[in-house]
Every structure is written in C-alpha cells, then in structure tokens.
Amino acid sequence: MNGPARLAVGGLAVALAGALAAAILDLPSAAVDLRGAVAMNLSASGVEHPVTAVLLNFRGYDTLLEIAVLLLALLGMLAVAKPESGGSPPAAADPMLRTLAGVAVPLMILAAGYLLWAGAHRPGGAFQAGAVLAAAAVLLHLAGRLPAWASPKRMLRLGLAGGFLVFLAVSAILLSEGALLRYPLEHAGALILLIEAGLTLSLGLILAGLFLVLAWHPASPSESAGEESKS
C-alpha cells in the first residue's frame, strides 16, 4: 500500500475509533437496574455470590446452552479430525519441564477444586475451575506425559458429555416439578454445587480437548522423514 492510501485508511480508522468512543460516552444509563433485583433476590438463590447466582440460577438457561455450544464445538472438531492409527506418541520433553509439570499439576487440580467451591460465595465457579483443569491437561501434554487424543474412548466421552447431561437431568426433573431450572429453595445450594461440579469436569475435558485433538498429528511419512533429517 502506498503513502496516501495508508494515510487515508489510518485517518478512517482513527475517525471510527473516535466515533465509537463518543457513542460509548453518550450511552444513556440502563433503564432497568438489574443489580438491585439481583441483590434483593440473592437470599433465594442458594448461593452468596451475585455472579454465580445469575449464571446458575436466575439465568441458568443461558449457561445450559453455553455448555451445549462448547460440547458441539468439540464434536465438530472430532468429526473432521482423522482418526487414523499410528498417531504420534508424546514427544520426550525436557526433564526440567517434566519435573515442573509433576509439581504444578497437583496444585492446579487443588486450585480448580478451590475455585469450584469458592464460586458459591466469592469470585470463582465452574468455568474458571474448568479452565484451570484444562490448563493442567495441556501442561501435561506439553511435558510429554499425556498423549494427544485421536478419538475419545467411552469413559472420555462420558466425561465430555457428563456435565451437560447432569445439567440437563436436573433441568428435566425440575421441569416435571413446575418450571425449567426453578430450584426449590432448600435444595438450591446443593443442586447448584452438583451442576457446577459436573460442569467443571466436562469443561476441563472439553477445553483440553480443543487443544489435544488439534495436537494429534497422524504420523505421515513426509513428517517423520522431516523429523529424521532434523535429528
């Protein structure tokens, strides 16, 4: 791109950024104050943290669809991945990295458990805990201790779908009682913890799967030849 064209595009970009900033500053304050409504109904939600109350109770339907979308994304990836035999075993990693992963992963699992439990009364919850679990799995793979996934076996499939199934089962039972995801007051906390525990496990596996399915390279002859020439 030559000088004047670049200048014109840059000018347009700056003008757009300015217009966006002006539009955000010009926004009227929200007509409905949802914070007040959440704070008023927090005691009926079964948890003490407003974000968890909104995600799992007041807007539980959104979270149900969210985990379904994530599961569908992974299913799509598994559908296009080629499950040929003879996949690459985990590459031998630096002994330093192996030791570090061995030390860090138990702590990460502990942190995920804490985040899951803390979600009831302070920032935390299933999504963050699942992300930490997924990071632990990715670290194990990079350290050469966990092979990449070609096609998941039955137990893994159950783990991937388990969180969604638990959520769906709770919703179905509650639907037969009256309304979708309207928890009975005395069991709300326990039901939310049950759903979040399932979500943590499944989210960890799904997010790790996004990495581990992509990391699985079938051992094609050209690639192994390239590796031999390097070594």
Partner: protein, 84 residues
C-alpha cells in the same frame, strides 16, 4: 497513584495490542497477544470484575495463547518437512 497505574495500564494495553498486530515476527505476535491478555485481566480486576479477570487470565491469555503457540509449532514443523 491509582490514576498513574490506570494510565500506565491503558498505555501498556494499547502498546501490546499494537505490537501484537504490527510485528512481522509471528512468535513475537503470539507472545505480545499473551501479554495483552494478562494486562487485560489486570484491567478487569481494576474495574472490580474479578470473575471476568479470572476467565480472561485462564482462557484468554492461557489457553488461547497455548493454542496459538501450538499452531505456530505445527506450522514450523510443516515448513521444516517441506525442505529436507
């Protein structure tokens, strides 16, 4: 003090975003993207949104960064395989 920190944070965010987009070196772009994600998590924490800060640090910086680095590694391996 707080204002100075916020101004520094905003400048660092803009700078890392610009470096990530403008650098011709892909490895540096990915590293700057991870730096941007961590700074963004700090910004969310400063905005009193610790939930979003946790999610940004774990998913935005951590997992996405790992995916990008892995993609970079796969590209490098393929290129090395092309010219033995």
């Amino acid at each position: 003090m707080n204002l100075a920190f916020d101004a520094l944070l905003a400048l660092a965010l803009l700078w890392s975003a610009w470096r990530s987009l403008a650098t011709p070196d892909l490895t540096r772009a990915v590293v700057m993207f991870i730096v941007f994600g961590l700074l963004m998590a700090l910004a969310w924490a400063r905005l009193d949104a610790p939930d979003i800060a946790l999610a940004e640090a774990a998913i935005g910086a951590g997992l996405t960064g790992a995916l990008l680095l892995d993609a970079l590694g796969a590209f490098g391996k393929r290129r090395a395989g092309d010219k033995p």
